[in-house]
Symmetry: C2
Subunit: 209 residues, 2 copies
């Protein structure tokens, strides 16, 4: 198909498609003349993935490129790819210092230990967790421990279905793509469901007095 048809099928404007081509987010089409290229279904699919990462996941062009490069790198094991992709998809909260941060760091490590999670020390998501916990400690004190275990328990259940979902992907590339989509789109779905569940829970309690 021509670029106009690719645009029509994906809802992405032609100048945006050309921008993605220049930025390497989309592989070049097959040249049919010096100024025209032909695109295939793999371009449709890739474009939809790129839009999901940008629109739903809020990723930057650079982050999308990193994720796509990791997805394409077939030397790494599935487990390694999972780690690398997760790092690129994570929130960008950096390590802090001070009393609240130290307290939060202790709370995070105790949680990992209590739940016997096999997590690498220095995992970037552990830093994100610690930074978010530090904010909570600073604003609300330590009145969050029971909340944290309920969150961790819910996360364990979610991770189980997530990994099952990932594994049903078609081959290695399919599994990695599922993982990327599931992580990014899954965050948006979970965030929306949590708010809807809040509304439900508040309405329920309001009614019961």
């Amino acid at each position: 198909m021509r670029v106009a048809e690719l645009s029509k099928r994906t809802g992405v404007a032609v100048p945006t498609i050309k921008y993605y081509l220049r930025e390497g987010l989309l592989p070049p089409g097959e040249l049919t003349s010096p100024n025209q290229a032909r695109y295939g279904d793999e371009h449709v699919r890739r474009l939809k993935l790129v839009r999901a990462l940008i629109d739903v996941g809020g990723l930057s062009i650079a982050a999308v490129r990193d994720v796509l490069e990791t997805m394409a790198d077939s030397d790494e094991s599935m487990y390694e790819v999972l780690g690398t992709v997760q790092r690129n998809l994570g929130a960008d909260l950096s390590a802090g210092d001070g009393e609240a941060y130290e307290k939060a760091s202790r709370i995070a490590y105790e949680l990992i230990e209590r739940r016997e999670w096999q997590v690498k020390t220095g995992a970037p998501q552990l830093e994100v967790l610690t930074a978010a916990l530090a904010t909570l400690v600073e604003l609300q004190g330590e009145d969050l421990l029971e909340l944290l275990d309920a969150y961790a328990e819910a996360s364990e259940r979610i991770a189980e279905v997530d990994i099952d979902y990932t594994r049903r992907g078609d081959g290695r590339a399919g599994a990695v793509e599922r993982m990327v989509i599931g992580t990014v789109v899954g965050d948006a779905i979970l965030s929306a469901l949590r708010r809807l569940a809040h509304e439900n829970e508040a309405a329920r309690r309001l009614r019961s007095g």
Copy 2:
């Protein structure tokens, strides 16, 4: 305290504090001379809240102002405030159209019905959910229904502890503040925990073969 001391206690640079004052994110201090003002503990607390909304929640200045205005508006019931604040804290995914969107809309409504959630039709978070589901439908087909119920079940448990946590706030203002912080920081914590739980689950399965 002077603005320099306020800056020192919160880690927010003086020009940024002045910007927040101009933008109305921070109430003015008490003037002690035409060019100097005195700030109190409520300014420290407010600044930390603003930084949490911006740094952890990724909110824009305009969204922070909306949230703060709703928090201050004491005419609304707690339940109304919860709704308004949630709208401002939600992801910004707008309604779509096309086959995938219609399919996603049906999936979302069926989920709400199946779980007997009391949610207003046209709730903005329902649109966010639908838009995210539409992306998933488009990229992966409908192979997501069991995943969705597991997510919803986890969200119900999370919402229960969230509402308990909110209610422990000191009075109405305290409860609203807890809700805002819990929603924004809670999202970051849940997202980090989900990724750590992925890592744990993958390591566990890798080991067991």
